[in-house]
């Protein structure tokens, strides 16, 4: 479903990715692991169409996406991808339910419908209580669950999660992972997890281990 072929990317004289190829099936949960500087985030950004690789291709459902014009790429990202960051990255001026409704509004849904669907998603992730609170008032774990709702609300093909539990303690992280993967499995959404935490990687069906910008041989199966 989502494929990378021979991706290469440098920042200045630093080589971030070298010939990375991988394939992610529909609904599959994959962990991209590796120490700091291994190229995890760069790979995630290339797959998610945020960064364009210098060499190689990114293909979604048979269609090459890394060469799309910016406007088209932006639309594809909004419709097909969801993102969860380490610190939630919610809009602090908005309430939880407004944050979750935001991607739907960008995709030209009516306000009433967007708010209804957003409220349903908060319910699924068991954070309905926080719906009308501004996100600055929420705990780290609540914020991440709101971020998961926002990532899934458009029914994307893939959710990209960059260290989604990085700011949480063990039990808080566990709740966010269960919420994210439970919801993703129900809706057959693929999840690409970037993490340096083996306990988070153990939630995935499969691991892609990066070392120095390349896939570690023998580990990607």
């Amino acid at each position: 479903m989502l494929e990378a072929r021979g991706l290469g990317k440098s920042f200045g004289r630093t080589r971030a990715l070298t010939g990375v190829s991988l394939e992610i099936a529909e609904g599959e949960i994959v962990a991209i692991t590796g120490p700091s500087g291994a190229g995890k985030s760069t790979l995630l950004h290339c797959l998610a169409g945020v960064v364009r690789p210098e060499s190689g291709e990114v293909v979604l459902d048979g269609r090459r996406i890394d060469t799309l014009p910016e406007a088209e790429l932006t639309r594809l990202r909004r419709e097909s991808f969801g993102v969860v960051f380490q610190f939630g990255e919610l809009v602090p001026e908005l309430t939880a339910v407004e944050n979750v409704a935001l991607p739907l509004l960008f995709n030209r849904h009516g306000r009433q419908e967007a708010m209804t669907v957003a409220a349903e998603w908060l319910g699924r992730l068991e954070v309905s209580d926080c719906a009308d609170q501004r996100t600055g008032e929420l705990s780290g774990g609540q914020r991440q669950r709101v971020a998961v709702a926002r990532a899934l609300v458009t029914g994307p093909r893939v959710v990209f999660a960059d260290e989604p539990t990085g700011a949480l303690d063990t039990l808080g992280g566990e709740q966010v992972m269960s919420a994210l993967l439970g919801a993703a499995r129900t809706s057959h959404t693929a999840v690409v997890l970037v993490t340096h935490d083996n306990r988070v990687a153990a939630y995935a069906d499969r691991e892609i281990a990066l070392r120095d910008g390349a896939v570690l041989a023998g580990v990607d199966r």
């Binding site: 120490p35 269960s178 083996n198 306990r199 990687a201 153990a202 939630y203 995935a204 069906d205 691991e207 570690l216 023998g218 580990v219």
Partner: protein
């Protein structure tokens, strides 16, 4: 850990027979190796010999004869002592994983990558078990997961140190 102390702990609530003790041991110490019947009876006899447990009654209701054991006062004192004893904190590094690397040195890197995969595969199983497990099993899985994670982090450090040495 001694099986004797665990059995004393299970006898605190009320007297029990060997079969009951085995079942409770396996349930409460979910994730531990199940106790063999032979070991249960041998341990109970030893506890009796040392005055830590005693035979409370012998039951025979149709089936085979069952000996019910009870904890004694000195058994309670011994249990209390054990529960409050701090374990020596890693006085030795005794791990087959470490021993291989100590012997093989840099040549251990291929092995370490395979061990890493095996650990991560087991961590996936334990993570899946936790999703549907009873509290005792979740607690055991947490313990196993965090120890495997510690090994994985050591493997990563060991590999990095080997690269450092070979680049020097």
């Amino acid at each position: 850990m001694s099986t004797g102390h665990v059995l004393l702990g299970l006898l605190v609530e009320r007297p029990k027979h060997g079969y009951e003790l085995k079942k409770e041991h396996d349930h409460r110490l979910a994730g531990a190796k199940p106790l063999a019947y032979g070991q249960v009876y041998a341990t109970l006899q030893r506890l009796e010999r040392d005055g830590l447990a005693e035979v409370a009654e012998t039951q025979q209701e149709g089936g085979p004869e069952r000996t019910v054991y009870a904890i004694t006062d000195s058994g309670r004192a011994e249990l209390e002592r054990w529960l409050n004893t701090v374990e020596p904190s890693a006085p030795y590094v005794a791990s087959p994983l470490f021993a291989r690397v100590a012997v093989a040195g840099k040549a251990a890197d291929g092995y370490l990558l395979r061990q890493r995969e095996a650990h991560l595969a087991r961590m996936r199983e334990l993570t899946a078990e936790k999703a549907s497990g009873a509290p005792a099993r979740v607690l055991a899985a947490d313990y196993a997961l965090q120890h495997l994670d510690a090994d994985l982090r050591w493997i990563e450090t060991a590999l990095a140190r080997m690269r450092e040495v070979s680049n020097a």
